[in-house]
Protein backbone atom coordinates (compact mmCIF):
# COMPACT_ATOMS: atom_id res chain seq x y z
CA UNK A 1 0.00 0.00 0.00
CA UNK A 2 1.18 3.58 -0.52
CA UNK A 3 2.74 4.90 2.70
CA UNK A 4 0.32 7.83 2.74
CA UNK A 5 -3.22 7.59 1.44
CA UNK A 6 -3.18 9.48 -1.81
CA UNK A 7 -5.98 11.40 -3.47
CA UNK A 8 -7.41 10.03 -6.67
CA UNK A 9 -5.56 11.40 -9.69
CA UNK A 10 -7.17 12.10 -13.05
CA UNK A 11 -5.39 9.31 -14.92
CA UNK A 12 -5.28 6.65 -12.21
CA UNK A 13 -5.53 3.13 -13.70
CA UNK A 14 -5.31 4.55 -17.24
CA UNK A 15 -1.97 6.36 -17.60
CA UNK A 16 0.01 3.43 -18.98
CA UNK A 17 -2.70 1.43 -20.72
CA UNK A 18 -3.19 1.78 -24.46
CA UNK A 19 -6.63 2.00 -26.07
CA UNK A 20 -6.18 -1.57 -27.26
CA UNK A 21 -5.53 -2.67 -23.70
CA UNK A 22 -8.67 -0.88 -22.49
CA UNK A 23 -10.60 -2.81 -25.13
CA UNK A 24 -8.92 -6.02 -23.98
CA UNK A 25 -10.29 -5.42 -20.49
CA UNK A 26 -13.76 -5.50 -22.01
CA UNK A 27 -12.96 -8.36 -24.37
CA UNK A 28 -12.26 -11.10 -21.82
CA UNK A 29 -15.23 -13.46 -21.83
CA UNK A 30 -13.94 -15.53 -18.90
CA UNK A 31 -13.97 -18.67 -21.04
CA UNK A 32 -11.14 -20.16 -18.98
CA UNK A 33 -9.07 -21.31 -21.95
CA UNK A 34 -6.08 -19.78 -20.18
CA UNK A 35 -6.47 -21.90 -17.05
CA UNK A 36 -4.75 -24.92 -18.57
CA UNK A 37 -1.92 -22.84 -20.02
CA UNK A 38 -1.08 -21.09 -16.74
CA UNK A 39 1.61 -22.63 -14.54
CA UNK A 40 0.40 -20.63 -11.56
CA UNK A 41 -3.06 -22.13 -12.00
CA UNK A 42 -1.51 -25.58 -12.26
CA UNK A 43 0.48 -25.02 -9.07
CA UNK A 44 -2.18 -23.29 -6.97
CA UNK A 45 -5.58 -24.03 -8.56
CA UNK A 46 -6.64 -20.62 -7.20
CA UNK A 47 -9.10 -19.10 -9.68
CA UNK A 48 -9.09 -15.82 -7.70
CA UNK A 49 -5.63 -15.10 -9.12
CA UNK A 50 -6.34 -16.38 -12.64
CA UNK A 51 -6.02 -14.19 -15.75
CA UNK A 52 -9.80 -13.58 -16.07
CA UNK A 53 -10.02 -12.67 -12.36
CA UNK A 54 -7.23 -10.11 -12.74
CA UNK A 55 -8.86 -8.60 -15.80
CA UNK A 56 -12.25 -8.42 -14.06
CA UNK A 57 -10.72 -6.69 -11.02
CA UNK A 58 -8.93 -4.13 -13.12
CA UNK A 59 -12.02 -3.49 -15.24
CA UNK A 60 -13.93 -2.81 -12.03
CA UNK A 61 -11.28 -0.32 -10.88
CA UNK A 62 -11.46 1.53 -14.19
CA UNK A 63 -15.25 1.56 -14.06
CA UNK A 64 -15.25 2.83 -10.48
CA UNK A 65 -12.91 5.68 -11.28
CA UNK A 66 -13.74 6.52 -14.88
CA UNK A 67 -16.70 4.50 -16.19
CA UNK A 68 -20.46 4.30 -15.92
CA UNK A 69 -20.24 3.48 -12.23
CA UNK A 70 -18.24 6.69 -11.71
CA UNK A 71 -20.77 8.70 -13.75
CA UNK A 72 -23.68 7.34 -11.74
CA UNK A 73 -22.17 7.25 -8.27
CA UNK A 74 -19.34 9.75 -8.56
CA UNK A 75 -15.64 8.98 -8.88
CA UNK A 76 -14.28 7.16 -5.90
CA UNK A 77 -11.16 5.24 -4.99
CA UNK A 78 -11.35 1.48 -5.04
CA UNK A 79 -11.23 -0.05 -1.56
CA UNK A 80 -7.66 -0.60 -0.39
CA UNK A 81 -8.35 -4.26 0.39
CA UNK A 82 -9.53 -4.80 -3.18
CA UNK A 83 -6.36 -3.21 -4.53
CA UNK A 84 -4.27 -5.29 -2.13
CA UNK A 85 -5.94 -8.50 -3.31
CA UNK A 86 -5.45 -7.48 -6.92
CA UNK A 87 -1.75 -6.74 -6.34
CA UNK A 88 -1.33 -10.18 -4.80
CA UNK A 89 -2.82 -11.74 -7.92
CA UNK A 90 -0.94 -9.49 -10.33
CA UNK A 91 2.44 -10.45 -8.90
CA UNK A 92 1.57 -14.13 -8.42
CA UNK A 93 2.28 -14.38 -12.12
CA UNK A 94 5.37 -15.16 -14.14
CA UNK A 95 4.15 -12.85 -16.95
CA UNK A 96 5.23 -15.66 -19.26
CA UNK A 97 2.44 -14.91 -21.74
CA UNK A 98 1.20 -18.49 -22.15
CA UNK A 99 -2.32 -17.31 -21.29
CA UNK A 100 -2.19 -14.87 -24.20
CA UNK A 101 -1.08 -17.60 -26.62
CA UNK A 102 -4.27 -19.58 -25.99
CA UNK A 103 -6.64 -16.64 -25.44
CA UNK A 104 -9.79 -17.18 -27.52
CA UNK A 105 -10.19 -13.43 -28.12
CA UNK A 106 -6.52 -12.66 -28.67
CA UNK A 107 -5.73 -10.60 -25.59
CA UNK A 108 -2.02 -9.80 -25.34
CA UNK A 109 -2.02 -10.67 -21.66
CA UNK A 110 1.73 -10.40 -21.14
CA UNK A 111 1.75 -6.71 -22.14
CA UNK A 112 -1.43 -6.18 -20.15
CA UNK A 113 0.08 -7.50 -16.91
CA UNK A 114 3.19 -5.36 -17.44
CA UNK A 115 1.07 -2.24 -18.07
CA UNK A 116 -1.04 -2.91 -14.96
CA UNK A 117 2.08 -3.34 -12.82
CA UNK A 118 3.54 -0.12 -14.21
CA UNK A 119 0.29 1.66 -13.50
CA UNK A 120 0.04 0.46 -9.90
CA UNK A 121 3.70 1.21 -9.13
CA UNK A 122 3.17 4.66 -10.69
CA UNK A 123 0.21 5.18 -8.36
CA UNK A 124 2.46 4.50 -5.37
CA UNK A 125 1.84 0.81 -4.70
CA UNK A 126 5.32 -0.72 -4.43
CA UNK A 127 6.11 -4.00 -6.12
CA UNK A 128 5.97 -6.74 -3.44
CA UNK A 129 8.62 -8.94 -1.87
CA UNK A 130 12.24 -8.33 -2.75
CA UNK A 131 11.45 -6.63 -6.08
CA UNK A 132 12.04 -3.02 -4.89
CA UNK A 133 15.61 -4.11 -4.07
CA UNK A 134 16.22 -4.60 -7.80
CA UNK A 135 15.48 -0.94 -8.40
CA UNK A 136 17.69 0.10 -5.49
CA UNK A 137 20.54 -1.95 -6.95
CA UNK A 138 19.96 -0.51 -10.41
CA UNK A 139 20.05 3.04 -9.10
CA UNK A 140 23.45 2.30 -7.58
CA UNK A 141 25.05 -0.18 -9.97
CA UNK A 142 23.03 0.05 -13.21
CA UNK A 143 22.24 -3.63 -12.85
CA UNK A 144 19.72 -5.47 -10.68
CA UNK A 145 22.51 -7.08 -8.67
CA UNK A 146 24.29 -5.50 -5.71
CA UNK A 147 27.69 -5.84 -7.34
CA UNK A 148 29.79 -3.39 -9.33
CA UNK A 149 29.51 -3.95 -13.07
CA UNK A 150 33.28 -3.78 -13.42
CA UNK A 151 33.55 -7.26 -11.88
CA UNK A 152 31.39 -9.03 -14.46
CA UNK A 153 33.96 -10.35 -16.93
CA UNK A 154 36.28 -11.36 -14.10
CA UNK A 155 33.62 -13.84 -12.99
CA UNK A 156 33.32 -15.81 -16.19
CA UNK A 157 35.73 -14.78 -18.97
CA UNK A 158 38.56 -17.36 -19.23
CA UNK A 159 41.96 -15.90 -20.13
CA UNK A 160 42.44 -18.06 -23.23
CA UNK A 161 39.36 -16.50 -24.84
CA UNK A 162 40.34 -13.11 -26.12
CA UNK A 163 37.56 -10.80 -27.31
CA UNK A 164 38.58 -8.33 -30.03
CA UNK A 165 38.68 -4.62 -29.26
CA UNK A 166 36.37 -4.08 -32.24
CA UNK A 167 34.40 -6.59 -34.26
CA UNK A 168 31.19 -6.85 -36.26
CA UNK A 169 29.68 -9.04 -33.55
CA UNK A 170 29.25 -7.97 -29.95
CA UNK A 171 28.38 -10.55 -27.30
CA UNK A 172 26.23 -9.18 -24.46
CA UNK A 173 25.71 -11.78 -21.75
CA UNK A 174 23.33 -9.67 -19.63
CA UNK A 175 23.61 -9.05 -15.91
CA UNK A 176 21.38 -12.03 -15.08
CA UNK A 177 23.83 -14.33 -16.82
CA UNK A 178 26.91 -12.69 -15.28
CA UNK A 179 25.67 -13.03 -11.71
CA UNK A 180 23.23 -15.92 -11.75
CA UNK A 181 24.50 -18.13 -14.55
CA UNK A 182 28.08 -17.15 -15.46
CA UNK A 183 28.82 -20.61 -16.82
CA UNK A 184 26.37 -19.82 -19.65
CA UNK A 185 28.52 -16.89 -20.75
CA UNK A 186 31.74 -18.83 -20.50
CA UNK A 187 30.30 -21.61 -22.65
CA UNK A 188 29.02 -19.09 -25.21
CA UNK A 189 32.41 -17.45 -25.71
CA UNK A 190 34.22 -20.80 -25.73
CA UNK A 191 31.94 -21.95 -28.54
CA UNK A 192 32.40 -18.68 -30.44
CA UNK A 193 36.17 -19.11 -30.12
CA UNK A 194 36.03 -22.75 -31.18
CA UNK A 195 34.07 -21.69 -34.28
CA UNK A 196 36.65 -18.93 -34.90
CA UNK A 197 33.96 -16.27 -34.79
CA UNK A 198 35.49 -12.95 -33.85
CA UNK A 199 33.52 -10.98 -31.28
CA UNK A 200 33.87 -8.00 -29.00
CA UNK A 201 32.45 -7.18 -25.57
CA UNK A 202 31.16 -3.90 -24.23
CA UNK A 203 33.34 -2.23 -21.64
CA UNK A 204 32.12 -3.83 -18.38
CA UNK A 205 31.03 -0.54 -16.83
CA UNK A 206 29.00 0.41 -19.95
CA UNK A 207 27.07 -2.86 -20.19
CA UNK A 208 24.09 -1.84 -18.09
CA UNK A 209 20.94 -3.80 -17.32
CA UNK A 210 18.76 -4.03 -20.44
CA UNK A 211 15.82 -2.80 -18.34
CA UNK A 212 13.67 -5.93 -18.64
CA UNK A 213 13.54 -7.09 -14.99
CA UNK A 214 12.59 -3.62 -13.81
CA UNK A 215 10.01 -3.13 -16.56
CA UNK A 216 8.21 -6.41 -15.87
CA UNK A 217 8.13 -5.59 -12.16
CA UNK A 218 6.44 -2.29 -13.07
CA UNK A 219 9.40 -0.11 -12.12
CA UNK A 220 10.04 2.11 -15.14
CA UNK A 221 11.88 4.95 -13.46
CA UNK A 222 15.30 4.09 -14.94
CA UNK A 223 14.20 2.67 -18.31
CA UNK A 224 15.21 5.57 -20.49
CA UNK A 225 18.60 5.98 -18.82
CA UNK A 226 19.40 2.27 -19.08
CA UNK A 227 18.26 1.85 -22.67
CA UNK A 228 19.92 5.01 -23.96
CA UNK A 229 23.24 4.13 -22.32
CA UNK A 230 23.26 0.67 -23.83
CA UNK A 231 22.32 1.82 -27.31
CA UNK A 232 24.94 4.56 -27.33
CA UNK A 233 27.64 2.20 -25.96
CA UNK A 234 26.84 -0.30 -28.72
CA UNK A 235 26.74 2.44 -31.38
CA UNK A 236 30.20 3.58 -30.32
CA UNK A 237 31.42 0.02 -30.86
CA UNK A 238 30.30 0.21 -34.51
CA UNK A 239 28.91 -3.33 -34.49
CA UNK A 240 26.50 -4.86 -36.99
CA UNK A 241 25.20 -7.72 -34.84
CA UNK A 242 24.44 -8.02 -31.16
CA UNK A 243 24.26 -11.54 -29.72
CA UNK A 244 22.63 -12.00 -26.33
CA UNK A 245 22.48 -15.01 -24.02
CA UNK A 246 19.52 -13.88 -21.97
CA UNK A 247 16.10 -14.36 -23.60
CA UNK A 248 14.73 -11.48 -21.54
CA UNK A 249 17.39 -9.16 -22.98
CA UNK A 250 16.34 -10.36 -26.44
CA UNK A 251 12.71 -9.52 -25.82
CA UNK A 252 13.55 -6.18 -24.23
CA UNK A 253 15.84 -5.16 -27.09
CA UNK A 254 13.40 -6.24 -29.79
CA UNK A 255 10.37 -4.69 -28.12
CA UNK A 256 11.43 -1.81 -25.87
CA UNK A 257 14.80 -0.59 -27.17
CA UNK A 258 13.29 -0.31 -30.65
CA UNK A 259 10.71 2.12 -29.31
CA UNK A 260 13.61 4.51 -28.67
CA UNK A 261 14.51 4.54 -32.37
CA UNK A 262 15.81 2.27 -35.09
CA UNK A 263 18.69 0.15 -33.82
CA UNK A 264 21.82 0.28 -35.97
CA UNK A 265 22.51 -3.41 -35.43
CA UNK A 266 20.75 -6.75 -35.76
CA UNK A 267 19.86 -8.59 -32.54
CA UNK A 268 20.17 -12.37 -32.29
CA UNK A 269 20.18 -14.95 -29.57
CA UNK A 270 23.58 -16.62 -29.14
CA UNK A 271 22.16 -20.06 -29.98
CA UNK A 272 21.22 -18.72 -33.44
CA UNK A 273 24.87 -17.94 -34.12
CA UNK A 274 26.15 -21.20 -32.67
CA UNK A 275 23.57 -23.26 -34.60
CA UNK A 276 24.62 -21.63 -37.86
CA UNK A 277 28.27 -22.42 -37.11
CA UNK A 278 27.33 -26.04 -36.34
CA UNK A 279 25.35 -26.41 -39.55
CA UNK A 280 27.98 -24.94 -41.84
CA UNK A 281 30.72 -27.01 -40.22
CA UNK A 282 32.71 -24.22 -38.57
CA UNK A 283 31.94 -25.77 -35.20
CA UNK A 284 32.37 -29.50 -34.68
CA UNK A 285 31.75 -31.54 -31.57
CA UNK A 286 34.35 -34.27 -31.23
CA UNK A 287 33.48 -35.98 -27.95
CA UNK A 288 30.56 -38.38 -27.60
CA UNK A 289 28.30 -39.26 -24.71
CA UNK A 290 25.28 -41.54 -24.78
CA UNK A 291 22.58 -39.59 -23.02
CA UNK A 292 18.90 -38.72 -23.31
CA UNK A 293 18.13 -35.03 -22.88
CA UNK A 294 15.12 -32.80 -23.07
CA UNK A 295 15.09 -29.11 -23.89
CA UNK A 296 12.99 -26.39 -22.29
CA UNK A 297 12.08 -23.45 -24.53
CA UNK A 298 12.42 -20.28 -22.46
CA UNK A 299 9.24 -18.18 -22.67
CA UNK A 300 11.05 -15.17 -24.10
CA UNK A 301 12.56 -17.12 -27.00
CA UNK A 302 9.27 -18.40 -28.32
CA UNK A 303 6.67 -15.73 -27.69
CA UNK A 304 6.15 -12.07 -26.88
CA UNK A 305 8.35 -10.36 -29.45
CA UNK A 306 8.50 -9.41 -33.10
CA UNK A 307 10.79 -11.40 -35.35
CA UNK A 308 11.43 -15.11 -35.69
CA UNK A 309 11.11 -17.33 -32.64
CA UNK A 310 14.24 -19.11 -31.47
CA UNK A 311 12.94 -22.66 -31.63
CA UNK A 312 14.90 -24.74 -34.13
CA UNK A 313 18.38 -23.44 -33.35
CA UNK A 314 18.90 -24.91 -29.85
CA UNK A 315 17.56 -28.23 -31.18
CA UNK A 316 20.00 -28.05 -34.09
CA UNK A 317 22.87 -27.72 -31.62
CA UNK A 318 21.60 -30.64 -29.52
CA UNK A 319 21.07 -32.86 -32.57
CA UNK A 320 24.73 -32.38 -33.54
CA UNK A 321 26.03 -33.63 -30.18
CA UNK A 322 27.38 -37.16 -30.75
CA UNK A 323 25.43 -39.81 -28.83
CA UNK A 324 22.77 -37.46 -27.51
CA UNK A 325 19.09 -38.22 -28.01
CA UNK A 326 16.57 -35.36 -27.74
CA UNK A 327 13.22 -36.15 -26.13
CA UNK A 328 10.63 -33.38 -26.24
CA UNK A 329 8.64 -32.04 -23.32
CA UNK A 330 4.89 -32.22 -23.75
CA UNK A 331 4.70 -28.44 -23.93
CA UNK A 332 7.23 -26.69 -26.14
CA UNK A 333 7.60 -23.82 -28.58
CA UNK A 334 5.03 -21.06 -28.27
CA UNK A 335 3.09 -23.10 -25.71
CA UNK A 336 6.12 -23.75 -23.53
CA UNK A 337 5.56 -23.68 -19.78
CA UNK A 338 7.26 -21.05 -17.71
CA UNK A 339 9.85 -22.63 -15.41
CA UNK A 340 8.57 -20.55 -12.50
CA UNK A 341 11.40 -18.06 -12.39
CA UNK A 342 9.91 -15.37 -14.63
CA UNK A 343 8.23 -12.04 -14.09
CA UNK A 344 9.79 -11.48 -10.68
CA UNK A 345 7.73 -14.26 -9.09
CA UNK A 346 10.77 -15.69 -7.29
CA UNK A 347 11.04 -12.42 -5.40
CA UNK A 348 7.34 -11.62 -5.09
CA UNK A 349 5.77 -15.04 -4.45
CA UNK A 350 8.56 -17.61 -3.87
CA UNK A 351 6.13 -20.18 -2.49
CA UNK A 352 4.35 -20.26 -5.87
CA UNK A 353 7.65 -20.43 -7.77
CA UNK A 354 8.65 -23.42 -5.62
CA UNK A 355 5.50 -25.38 -6.49
CA UNK A 356 5.89 -24.57 -10.20
CA UNK A 357 9.48 -25.79 -10.03
CA UNK A 358 8.51 -29.14 -8.50
CA UNK A 359 5.85 -29.74 -11.16
CA UNK A 360 8.21 -28.77 -13.94
CA UNK A 361 10.91 -31.22 -12.83
CA UNK A 362 8.26 -33.94 -12.77
CA UNK A 363 7.32 -33.02 -16.36
CA UNK A 364 10.97 -33.29 -17.35
CA UNK A 365 11.34 -36.68 -15.66
CA UNK A 366 8.27 -37.99 -17.51
CA UNK A 367 10.06 -37.53 -20.85
CA UNK A 368 12.57 -40.19 -19.83
CA UNK A 369 15.43 -37.73 -20.18
CA UNK A 370 18.41 -37.82 -17.86
CA UNK A 371 19.22 -34.15 -18.36
CA UNK A 372 17.05 -31.09 -18.75
CA UNK A 373 18.69 -28.44 -20.91
CA UNK A 374 17.70 -24.82 -20.48
CA UNK A 375 18.61 -21.58 -22.20
CA UNK A 376 17.92 -18.73 -19.81
CA UNK A 377 19.69 -17.37 -16.69
CA UNK A 378 16.46 -17.27 -14.68
CA UNK A 379 15.86 -20.96 -15.46
CA UNK A 380 19.52 -21.64 -14.59
CA UNK A 381 19.29 -19.82 -11.25
CA UNK A 382 16.09 -21.69 -10.43
CA UNK A 383 17.09 -25.22 -11.51
CA UNK A 384 20.88 -25.42 -11.46
CA UNK A 385 21.73 -23.10 -8.58
CA UNK A 386 18.30 -23.67 -6.97
CA UNK A 387 18.12 -20.06 -5.86
CA UNK A 388 14.89 -19.03 -4.13
CA UNK A 389 14.43 -16.71 -1.14
CA UNK A 390 14.35 -18.45 2.24
CA UNK A 391 12.73 -20.45 3.70
CA UNK A 392 11.52 -21.76 0.33
CA UNK A 393 15.09 -22.03 -0.92
CA UNK A 394 15.86 -24.78 1.61
CA UNK A 395 12.83 -26.78 0.58
CA UNK A 396 13.70 -26.32 -3.09
CA UNK A 397 17.30 -27.42 -2.60
CA UNK A 398 16.12 -30.53 -0.79
CA UNK A 399 13.63 -31.46 -3.53
CA UNK A 400 15.02 -34.48 -5.35
CA UNK A 401 14.70 -35.19 -9.03
CA UNK A 402 16.27 -37.88 -11.22
CA UNK A 403 16.84 -35.19 -13.85
CA UNK A 404 20.06 -33.16 -13.95
CA UNK A 405 19.77 -29.59 -15.16
CA UNK A 406 22.14 -27.61 -17.31
CA UNK A 407 22.39 -24.81 -19.84
CA UNK A 408 22.25 -26.00 -23.45
CA UNK A 409 25.47 -24.29 -24.57
CA UNK A 410 27.28 -25.21 -21.38
CA UNK A 411 26.29 -28.79 -22.09
CA UNK A 412 27.36 -28.50 -25.73
CA UNK A 413 30.74 -27.02 -24.74
CA UNK A 414 31.43 -30.32 -22.95
CA UNK A 415 31.51 -32.01 -26.41
CA UNK A 416 34.32 -29.84 -27.83
Amino acid sequence: MPEKARALAKKDFLAHLTRKQLLELEACVRCGACFDACVVQEATGDRNISPPAKIASYRRFVDTVHGLRAKLLGRRKPAEEDVAHFLGALYACTTCGACGEVCEVGIDTQRLWWAMRRELVGMGYPAPGTLPKLLENARRHHSIFASPLELRYRIWLPPEVRPAARAELCYFEGCGVAWEAPAMAEAAVRLLSAAKIEFTLLEASRAWCCGWPLAVAGMWELQQELVENNISALEEKGITTLAVSCPCCLQQIREVWRSYGKLPFEVLHITQIIAEAVEDGRLRFTKARKERVTYHDPCQLTRGFRGPRVYEEPRTVIQHLPGVELLELERQGRLTKCCGAGGGIRGARPEVALEIGKLFLRDAARTGAETLLMNCPACYAMYVARRLPEPWGREWRAFESPVKCNDVLQYAAGFL
Binding site: F145, A146, S147, P148, L151, R154, I155, W156, L157, P158, W179, P182, A183, E186, A187, V384, A385, R386, R387, E390, G393, R394, W396, R397, A398, F399, E400, K404, N406, Q410, A413, G414
Partner: protein, 78 residues
Protein backbone atom coordinates in the same frame (compact mmCIF):
# COMPACT_ATOMS: atom_id res chain seq x y z
CA UNK B 1 25.37 -31.43 -5.64
CA UNK B 2 26.53 -29.03 -2.97
CA UNK B 3 29.99 -27.67 -3.47
CA UNK B 4 31.82 -27.08 -0.18
CA UNK B 5 35.23 -26.83 -1.71
CA UNK B 6 37.87 -24.79 0.12
CA UNK B 7 39.83 -22.59 -2.27
CA UNK B 8 43.38 -21.83 -1.24
CA UNK B 9 45.72 -18.89 -1.91
CA UNK B 10 42.82 -16.71 -3.06
CA UNK B 11 43.86 -13.20 -4.05
CA UNK B 12 42.07 -10.17 -2.63
CA UNK B 13 40.87 -9.19 -6.10
CA UNK B 14 39.36 -12.61 -6.76
CA UNK B 15 37.80 -12.72 -3.30
CA UNK B 16 35.89 -9.56 -4.19
CA UNK B 17 34.63 -11.17 -7.40
CA UNK B 18 33.74 -14.46 -5.68
CA UNK B 19 31.78 -12.66 -2.99
CA UNK B 20 29.85 -10.75 -5.66
CA UNK B 21 28.76 -14.01 -7.27
CA UNK B 22 27.79 -16.00 -4.19
CA UNK B 23 25.23 -13.49 -2.97
CA UNK B 24 22.42 -15.79 -1.93
CA UNK B 25 22.26 -15.89 1.92
CA UNK B 26 22.72 -19.66 1.97
CA UNK B 27 25.65 -19.40 -0.41
CA UNK B 28 27.53 -16.76 1.54
CA UNK B 29 31.16 -17.83 1.53
CA UNK B 30 33.30 -18.46 4.62
CA UNK B 31 36.64 -16.75 4.44
CA UNK B 32 39.91 -16.96 6.31
CA UNK B 33 43.57 -16.08 5.80
CA UNK B 34 43.92 -16.60 2.03
CA UNK B 35 41.15 -19.20 1.80
CA UNK B 36 37.48 -19.25 0.86
CA UNK B 37 35.01 -22.04 1.53
CA UNK B 38 32.05 -22.18 -0.83
CA UNK B 39 28.47 -23.23 -0.21
CA UNK B 40 26.92 -23.63 -3.63
CA UNK B 41 23.73 -25.32 -4.83
CA UNK B 42 21.43 -27.96 -3.41
CA UNK B 43 21.41 -31.66 -2.59
CA UNK B 44 24.23 -33.93 -1.52
CA UNK B 45 27.71 -32.68 -0.84
CA UNK B 46 29.92 -33.23 -3.84
CA UNK B 47 32.80 -35.62 -3.25
CA UNK B 48 34.93 -34.11 -6.02
CA UNK B 49 33.04 -35.44 -9.03
CA UNK B 50 29.84 -33.63 -9.93
CA UNK B 51 26.65 -35.19 -11.28
CA UNK B 52 28.08 -35.05 -14.81
CA UNK B 53 31.05 -37.05 -13.57
CA UNK B 54 33.41 -34.12 -13.92
CA UNK B 55 36.24 -33.49 -11.47
CA UNK B 56 36.66 -30.12 -9.79
CA UNK B 57 39.00 -28.77 -12.46
CA UNK B 58 36.39 -29.28 -15.16
CA UNK B 59 33.26 -28.53 -13.14
CA UNK B 60 30.94 -26.60 -15.40
CA UNK B 61 28.85 -25.46 -12.48
CA UNK B 62 31.63 -23.17 -11.34
CA UNK B 63 32.42 -19.82 -12.92
CA UNK B 64 35.90 -19.26 -14.22
CA UNK B 65 37.00 -17.16 -11.25
CA UNK B 66 36.54 -20.28 -9.08
CA UNK B 67 37.54 -22.95 -11.58
CA UNK B 68 40.95 -21.44 -12.19
CA UNK B 69 41.83 -22.25 -8.55
CA UNK B 70 40.42 -25.75 -9.00
CA UNK B 71 42.47 -26.30 -12.16
CA UNK B 72 45.64 -25.15 -10.45
CA UNK B 73 44.99 -27.61 -7.61
CA UNK B 74 44.62 -24.77 -5.11
CA UNK B 75 41.75 -26.37 -3.22
CA UNK B 76 40.81 -28.85 -0.57
CA UNK B 77 37.67 -30.99 -0.28
CA UNK B 78 38.11 -31.31 3.50
Amino acid sequence: MLCRVKLLEVSKEDLEVIKSFFFDPLEEVETGEGWVRLRYMGGEQCGGRNDFGEGCGECRYMPWVVRKYLREGKYSLK
